[in-house]
Every structure is written in structure tokens, then in C-alpha cells.
Symmetry: C2
Subunit: 125 residues, 2 copies
Amino acid sequence: MTAITASEEIVLEQPCPIRDVLDRIGDQWSLLILEALAPGTLRFNALMREIGDISKQMLSRTLKQLEQDGFVTRTLYPEVPPRVEYTLTPLGRSFLEPMQQLVAWADAHHRTIVAARLQYQASQT
Amino acid sequence: MTAITASEEIVLEQPCPIRDVLDRIGDQWSLLILEALAPGTLRFNALMREIGDISKQMLSRTLKQLEQDGFVTRTLYPEVPPRVEYTLTPLGRSFLEPMQQLVAWADAHHRTIVAARLQYQASQT
DNA sequence: AATAAACGGTCTAAAATGTAGACCTTGGGG
DNA sequence: CCCCAAGGTCTACATTTTAGACCGTTTATT
């Protein structure tokens, strides 16, 4: 029996729908995980290797949130050793489109941003 | 004279351009700030009021990063009390388009996500 | 036979990050 | 003389993230 945490209480009743959604996607790892799952189903450790520098705990936690919000499904095959597969839901796949736009923008403007950083550094003498 | 921090060293040489960009906008506040600036120039305190629940420090820090990366300009009018205006650059405005797509998606699918959360809770007995 | 590795996690301690709120500056109004 | 304004910075505290040990079971290696 665990205590009720704040995060469990905010399931309902977020004042601003956009904030509500962006707060979930706009963390360190969610976008990366969704991008990794875009090509298809992956297992837990495969996902870890794919992303490279995420800790088990954060992968586990973020996947749980994504599952909770309906972006991915978690399927446990009770073999031994256990196999767990993560797959995008239709909702998750529908999110891919705006996300890919974002990724495309990032790719297209990366050089501009790097240039801005250099110029900023120079301006700071 | 300040010590050289890690954050100052990563100005160059990010292995993955997409990660590089997403790591900057995929934090708690950047998207919210850019959205707040979308309609036009705002002063520091106006921005604070607009966002509502951001601390001064995080607003200051995030604005500095956005300025560094070329998304916004900071204009200081040396009056007293000082006036500081933040405005989107062309780069920042160009980012608005993919971001609005994301916002539109969030708005459109918010109900589905809330429903998923409820169903998840129910499934957890 | 003992050892190690793989799977998908959880747990804990320590490090990093975020928050709230005091404080700073400079000039004007009461 | 004291306080207020704006746009921050600084400090102490709270929360979040990380690194890494550990778990239980089975197969592979030595």
C-alpha cells in the first residue's frame, strides 16, 4: 500500500489541455523514446541500447507514463527470462506526424542554432 | 571570472543534431515561453505573469538559453527602472510552425489521453 | 560444479536541478 | 526616511535524475 502521490492525483483536472500534454511530452526522454519506437516494436533493453544514455529507471518510468497516457502498449510474455515489448498505439503513431515536423525543423535549422551559439559566445567577449 | 562549466563547453560538437535541438526545447519551460512570445514582444515580468507558475530563476535561465540559441532577442532599455523586452527572432518565428502543429495535436487529442489515463487507473485495480 | 550473462525491472544513495523567497540597483513619490 | 518599481541574482531547501547494486530464473561458458 503506497501513499497517494501528487502525480497520481493529477490524472484528471488539468486546467490547460496544452500544458497538460506538453508537460508529459516535453521532458528529457519522452520524445526520444517515441522516436525510437517509430520504426516498430522494441523490447526494453533494445530500447535502452537504441537511446544509449538513458538510465533503466528513467526508461522504466517514462515508458510507464507513456503507457498511462496511451502512447504505447506494454506486452509482457511470461517466458523466462521475461520478454516485454513496447509498441506505439494508434494515438502514439498519430503523434509521430507533428513530432517528425519538429525533428525535420531541428535537422534543418541545426546549423543556424550552432552559429547563433558561437556568435553569442563571441558577443560575451 | 567564472569557472568553465560543462554547459559552456557543449556549445559545439553535439553528436546528434536532433538530440542537440530537442534537448534544448524539450525542457519544462522553453515551449511555453516561445508560445507566450508568439503573439509579440513581452517584458520580463509580463512573461512571468503570462506563464503564471514559472520562477524568476528559470525564466531568466531559459530566456538566456533561448537567446543563446538564437530563438529570441533581448533588448535592454537602460531606463530606470530598467525595461527589458524579449522578442522572437526569425528563427524563433520559424519554429512556431512545427510547434503550433504540436499544440494543435495536443489540443485535438487531449480527451483521448485523459481517457487513457482513467482506463489505466482502472486496469491497475 | 561454479560462474557468468541475459532479461526487465526495483531500490538506494548521491548528484544535479528546480523552487521560493530574500536581496540588489537606481531613481521618484509620499 | 522609507518604500516601490523592474529585472534580475543569490541562497537555502525540495524535488528529480543518475549510477549502480540487487533480484529471480534459466541457459551458456569454463
